[in-house]
Symmetry: C2
Subunit: 419 residues, 2 copies
C-alpha cells in the first residue's frame, strides 16, 4: 500500500515549528508494514493544500494530512480536502453538540462563536475520528475507487492520541498484512563513528541482510539495524540476533539495545550488586544527578549528590584539601579523586562519582583548554580517574562529560560486579 | 522569489530521523525575505528524487535539496539532480585531491576506495559549495533560464556550516532585497494558554498588523509575533514595540523576549542585586542546578547545591528536622522550607531555593497524588513556599517543577530587588 503524508502549516515552512508528527507517523506506519513514499509540506493555503492532496491521490492509495484543523480563519484543511475530493462540506450535529458541551464546561457563558462551528464541518461521507484531547475532530474519507484521505490535527499530542485511538485500526485493516519494516539500535559510547567500521569488519555494511546505519550524537553512536521483508515476529527475532552479534563485536563500547539510557544501565548494575551511588558535580552542575533521577525507581540506588560549583563547596562539603586544590587547580586528578571519595564518604554509599572540568566558553588556558574534564569513580576497592579532552560548545562538553562519567561507572568494577 | 525545499533520505520517511534541517532553512530563508512555498521529502531513490526536483523546478525559481551526498550506494542525490537538469556528472579533480588528502590525514595507508570517488562527481557547470565539516561537497547549479538547484548535505552540522559559509551569500545576492519575514517571542510561564486571550483582550489575535501565535510547552507559553512585509530594520523595530505592549499586558507572567531562558533572567537579577544562590533538590534531582549552570558565567551567582534525593541527605546535609520530616512527609511545606533555609545556610549564600515533590509514576497517594510538588525560596528577609499540582509524566512534572522554582525566585523579592 502506497501512502503519502501531507503536513500543513505556515510555521512548518517558516521553520518556527519542527515537524515531529512526520517522524511519529513514519515509524508507526512502518511498524504496520506501510511505507510512506513521499511527504509534502504546504502552508495554510486552501489552493496549495487541495493541489497537494490531488497530486498525492494520483500517486498513492491513501493520503494522511496533519494540521490546519483549528477554529481560526487560517485553518482551511477540511475545506481543501473536500475540494480535492470533489465533495461538499456538511455540518455534523454530533460535533456541534460536543463543541457546545466543551464550551460550557470551560465556564463560558456566551454562546459558541460561529468561528468555532467551522470545526463541525466535515467532507460528506466522512467517518469522524474522535479527538479526546482537543476540540478539532479528524476525518476519514474514502473515494469510490477506494483511495482514501485521513485528516488529522497538527498538535502532536492530539495527533498521536487520534492515531492510536482510531487511525491505527483503520489502517491496519487495510495494510497488506504481510511484511513490516522494523528497526533496533545497538547503543555505543566512548568510540568515534570513524573507528566503528574497522571494529565491525564484515558486519560494517549490514548484518544478515539487514541494513546498518550509524547515528552519531553527543552521547555516542547508535547503530541502527533495519529489517525489511519479514513478518513482525520474524523481523523482531532477526533484529535481536543481529543486535547480539553487533554487541559482541563492539565490546566494551556497546551498552544497550533499543532506546535504553546509559543511566538506566548503570542503575541496574548497581542495584543488582546491592551498591548505592552518590555524585559530586562541578562543571556538569547537576546534569549527572538529573540523568540518574530521570529513571523511575532510581531512589533505590541513588542517594543524592553535591553540586560543587564553587571551590569552597568542594572543600567544605566534599572534604577536598584546600592546599591540593590551590596547587593543582579544580580541574585535576587530585581534586576529582578527592571529590569522588568525598561524595562516597559524605553520603555513606558504596560508589562516589565525580566530574570537574572546563565547559567553556571561558575559563580555558594553554595548559587546560576548554573541554578539559576529569572524571572519577571511587569504591571501597579502587579509585579510577580519567582525563578527557572533549570538543563542542558548553552544552556538548557538559553532556559528553556526564555520559563519560556514567560510562566510567559501568566499565569500572563498581558497575561490573553485578553483571 | 519562490523557493522549494526537498529533503532526501529513507530515514526521514521511516521516521528514524526528525527533520531539523527544514526548520533551520525555513527560518534562515525567511530572514533573507525568501519564503519556502513547499517542502517535499522523498527516499533514497534516484527516480523519485529526480521527479521531485523536476516538479519543483516547474513551480519555483529555485530548489534546495538536503541529504543523499554520502559515499555509499544509496547516496544518489547528485546523479538525480543532474538527471533532472539534463546535464552530465563530471569528475572534479580539486575534490578528488581533497578527498585523498582527508583519507591520508585519517592515517589510512591504502588508496581512497572507488566508492568515495563518487563524492567528486558534480553536475556539469556546478559551483562547488565547500564542506568544512565532512567529505561531501555541495553544489549550486543554474539553468539557462536562471532557475537553480542548491545541493546540500543531510548531516545537520555540515548543512548548517555550508549554508552559513556559502549558500547564504549566493541566495542573499538573488533575494528580492526588500521585505522579510521576522518573528519575536514574548515568553511567559505560570499561566495556561487558555487564560491568555482574556488577558490580552484586543491584542489576542495580533498586534499592529503582526500575527500572534501561541506556542505552549512544558516550561510555559511563548507568544510569537510575526512581521511580514517590512524591511529588516523596520521589522525588528515593529516587533520590539509590539513585544513591549504584550509584555506589559502579561505582567507578571512574561519574563523575557526571544529565546532567553528563565534561568538566565534569574541569574541576571541576582547578579545585579549582588546576591548569590544555592539549591536543594529532591524530585528534580539536579535539574535546577543544571538549568542554572547551563548559562555561561553562572558561577558568579550560583554557588552550588545539594541533591537531597534520600531523606537522610535532607536531614544530614540540609539540617531538616527528622521529626518534622516523619510527621509531615518529605513533600510538605515544613520540609521544603527547611530545605531552602538549609541550602542558604550551608552554602553561605543570600538565596536558597528548594524543590521536593512526587514526580511519579509511583509514590503518589490519595492525599498527595503524583504531581504534588512543594517549592520554596529563602532569603534573609522572607521565606516563600508554594504548593503545586502539576500534570504530565515524570519528565514533565520535573521540568514544570524546576521552571516554577526559578519563577518563584524571579517573582519573590530575591529576584526582584535588583530589577
Amino acid at each position: 500500500m502506497r501512502v503519502e503524508l501531507i503536513t500543513i502549516g505556515d510555521e512548518l515552512l517558516l521553520g518556527f515549528t519542527i515537524d515531529t508528527n512526520s517522524a511519529f507517523l513514519g515509524r508507526e506506519l512502518a511498524g504496520l508494514g506501510i511505507e510512506i513514499h513521499r511527504r509534502t509540506t504546504v502552508g495554510d493555503d486552501r489552493a496549495a493544500i487541495a493541489q497537494a492532496v490531488r497530486e498525492a491521490l494520483d500517486r498513492a492509495d491513501g493520503v494522511i494530512t496533519t494540521g490546519g484543523l483549528g477554529p481560526t480563519s487560517d485553518d482551511v484543511t477540511m475545506e481543501a480536502v473536500a475540494a480535492a475530493l470533489g465533495v461538499e462540506l456538511e455540518r455534523n450535529e454530533a460535533i456541534v453538540a460536543r463543541l457546545e458541551e466543551i464550551w460550557r464546561s470551560r465556564g463560558r457563558s456566551e454562546k459558541l462563536p460561529p468561528a468555532n462551528l467551522s470545526q463541525a464541518m466535515l467532507p460528506r461521507g466522512a467517518i469522524i475520528l474522535p479527538n479526546n484531547h482537543g476540540t478539532a475532530p479528524g476525518a476519514f474519507v474514502e473515494r469510490a475507487d477506494k483511495r482514501w484521505v485521513a485528516v488529522l490535527p497538527g498538535v502532536p499530542r492530539e495527533m498521536r492520541e487520534m492515531f492510536n485511538g482510531s487511525v491505527r485500526d483503520v489502517l491496519a485493516a487495510r495494510a497488506p498484512g504481510g511484511t513490516v519494516v522494523r528497526s533496533l539500535a545497538v547503543r555505543t559510547t566512548g568510540i568515534p563513528e570513524s573507528r566503528l567500521p574497522a571494529l565491525l569488519a564484515e558486519l560494517a555494511d549490514g548484518v544478515d541482510g539487514m541494513s546498518l546505519a550509524y547515528l552519531p550524537s553527543v552521547e555516542g553512536v547508535d547503530l541502527r539495524l533495519t529489517a525489511r521483508g519479514s513478518r513482525p515476529a520474524a523481523a523482531d527475532e532477526r533484529l535481536r540476533a543481529a543486535a547480539r552479534k553487533l554487541s559482541a563485536r563492539l565490546e566494551p563500547y556497546a551498552y544497550a539495545e533499543g532506546t535504553t539510557d546509559l543511566a538506566e544501565v548503570v542503575l541496574e548494575a548497581c542495584r543488582r550488586a546491592g551498591r548505592r551511588l552518590a555524585v559530586a558535580e562541578s562543571c556538569t552542575g547537576g546534569m549527572l544527578g538529573q540523568r540518574l533521577t530521570a529513571i523511575a525507581g532510581s531512589s533505590e540506588v541513588f542517594a543524592g549528590g553535591v553540586i560543587a560549583y564553587d571551590n569552597e563547596v568542594k572543600i567544605e562539603l566534599l572534604g577536598v584539601d584546600r592546599e591540593q586544590l590551590e596547587r593543582h587547580g579544580a580541574v585535576s586528578e587530585e581534586v576529582v579523586t578527592a571529590m569522588a571519595t568525598g561524595a562516597k564518604r559524605r553520603f555513606g554509599v558504596d560508589v562516589g562519582v565525580a566530574v570537574t572540568g572546563i565547559a567553556g566558553p571561558g575559563g580555558g588556558s594553554a595548559d587546560k583548554p576548554v573541554g578539559t574534564v576529569w572524571i572519577a569513580v571511587a569504591t571501597a576497592d579502587e579509585i579510577v580517574a580519567r582525563q578527557l579532552r572533549l570538543f563542542g560548545d558548553r552544552d556538548e562538553v557538559r553532556r559528553r562529560a556526564a555520559q563519560a562519567a556514567l560510562d566510567l561507572v559501568r566499565r569500572s568494577s563498581a558497575g561490573n560486579l553485578g553483571t
